[in-house]
Amino acid sequence: MSESPASPSRAQNQKLMELLGMDKMTLSSKTRAAQSTSERWMRYLGFPGGILLFLLILYLPAGAGLSASAQAGAACFALALVWWVTEPFPTYVTSLVLMFLLLVTRTSDAKSIMYVLGMEVIWLNLLAFILSSMLVKVRLAKRMALWLILRFGRKASWALLAFVILQMVLAPLIPATAARAVMTLPLMIVVAAIYGATEETNNNFGRNLFLLNLVGISVLSSMTMTGSSANLIAVGLIETMGSQRVYYMDWVRVGAPIAIMTTMMMWVLGQKLLFRIPKAEQTPQLEGGLDLVKQQYAEMGPMRGEEKKAIAIFSLVLFLWMTDAFHLDWFGVEISAPFAALLGAVIVLFPRYGILQWSEADIPWHLLIFSAGAYAGGLALDDTGAAEWGVRMLFGGMDLKGVPFGISYTVVIAVMMYSHLLTTSKTVRTLILLPIIITLAKALGWEPISFALPAALCIDWVVGLPISGKPNVILFSTNQYSVADNFKYGVLTCTIGVVLLVISGATWFHWLGLTPSFWAVAP
């Protein structure tokens, strides 16, 4: 008697149960399979397309203010950008190619390229993944995910909203976006699995979940001036160059409504317009649905000692992340986010009393290499002056003298918002663009703050591409969505942001005294 093969739904259910067990919850380094004809063509043509763009930029006649290394750096970055988007081979391989190209085109020296792997951000990612592995190992992530589903997961929309609220709560508390991404990633993966979205079988719930979290992590950082270190740099520049002080509540008044409104709009538009979730996928996909989730949750029993230990360790790290402003007074030294995570990792890996063995830590090195390449490229654009030259050309090519305030304001906001597609660092972008925007405001006869503060609100909106920011890299590594999905979702988010900022500039900001009349023309 031959055994009948397992039905597809049973096999899928088996896979979901495995994921729920989280034993195989690793951030895969496998290349995402091309899922449509257009994606296959993109991969096929992306490779020569990237090379073609590289050659085109490299052989262009020398620009007036562009050095040969800046031109070569722009060519290398353009090639990598095309390959990252079209994925002719894995993103981390593209990063390695980019690093090699930066050397052989003499854009950067070996030391500058290799140094990126020692950057704070890479360390933070590495250590945060150790903490994340701890949450997975002690099954705390599973417990939290099941609880979240039981509480809010009867419908896909509510599960998505629960994550929005979670990110909204975390954003003012933890400035490090990578830390927020890593903290909530295990929850996302399990909840996605419950709704049938896995690495192998992507669905629109998964796309919405991960991309909405990306928006939540990045955009909600712009609610407060302490949401990211780049925000604080912008405040400093406004004060030193524009001679205008921005207080905490000044920022919140203008930044929070726009960030929250945009995130809520994307919660709706994502599932209703971009990636429609079919009725069949609106409920948990596990056979047995919520009953099975309930059963799983009940089987977990009361919280075990290991879980409590994990909570204590994570709370210590969280506490250090949240109180970094007081460290100098308390300890005489500032324990930055990576070092707080490092302390957590030491406790987690402590012999006999710790929680993890080194071999149990799921550290996605391919992801760190991908990040390193992106940073090497971004820093090369900055160091060679290519990025600054591009921005100067852009603003220099527009004659904004004598045009109404609203038009100049809209141009500045749009440039600031979409410029993140060409950089990999919020800090670098801020340092390049904000001084130019403040100078432009002065030259046009407007108060510097009227351009600079609304522009500063766009700093954290780095949601367009997987290389645009640290959380982007982390979430993209789950293989739950494509670069094109990310681009679509990110551009719509940024466009909504621009529209809201322009409307606010004409109304809300004007009533607050931040901007002049939209139709005013400077004397």
Binding site: R43, I51, A62, P88
Partner: protein, 241 residues
Amino acid sequence: MRRLLVFLMLVLVCSSASAVTTIRNYVTRVDVVTDGSARVTVNVQLAGSQPGRITLPIGFGAMDNFQIKDAPRGVVLKPIPAKEQSIVEIELPDAIADEVRLSFSFGAPDVLGRPKSAPGERSKLPADTSLLRHSFVNTQETPIGTYQVDVRLPDDVRVHKIGEQLPKLRRAEVLPRVRLDRVDGHQGAVLQLTNLKQGDRTSMSLDVTTNNLSLTWLLVGLVLSAGYLFAFRDLVIPGKR
């Protein structure tokens, strides 16, 4: 009486302090020629000019063929070459206008070239790259309002990268310390700094390379593209592997 004396002394000190010739603008244009030497033209604008001698530091060592291009009657310019930084002594006569414009030029050898390596040491510069280094120290008492160096390269070379641009930008400064530009097909660089006090220094170094880009990149790129399109044709043509 004592108060009066103190007051008079203060007035004297203040008046003597204000009666100092200052350099409002100091612009140096460096036209580099193919052999690496340069013709340097200096334009200086003095303000509050007082009779007497002032010393003008020049950001070049050796200098030859010194020529005065523009100077009011009675003003004497005397170049004093030095190994590191030459100087020009400017003698202002008694009846001198408050604002004075001076212009002079000279030849400077080895402005662009390959730095000499120590015996047994390998050069860190690629074979097709030369170095242009300029440094300037304000060795005199009075501040210089604006110091600018405008370098023009020969037409067969371009700047590969700006190796050094000091001092670092102050927080209120927007323009980069060294800005590249192109005039009449010649690429060049402009170094600019304001308010140099005595002892302040500024410097820039440019890695200069040939304008002709090798065709190797093009050939390698085309070969790789063609190879990929053939090897991965199964991506778009099912069954072709």
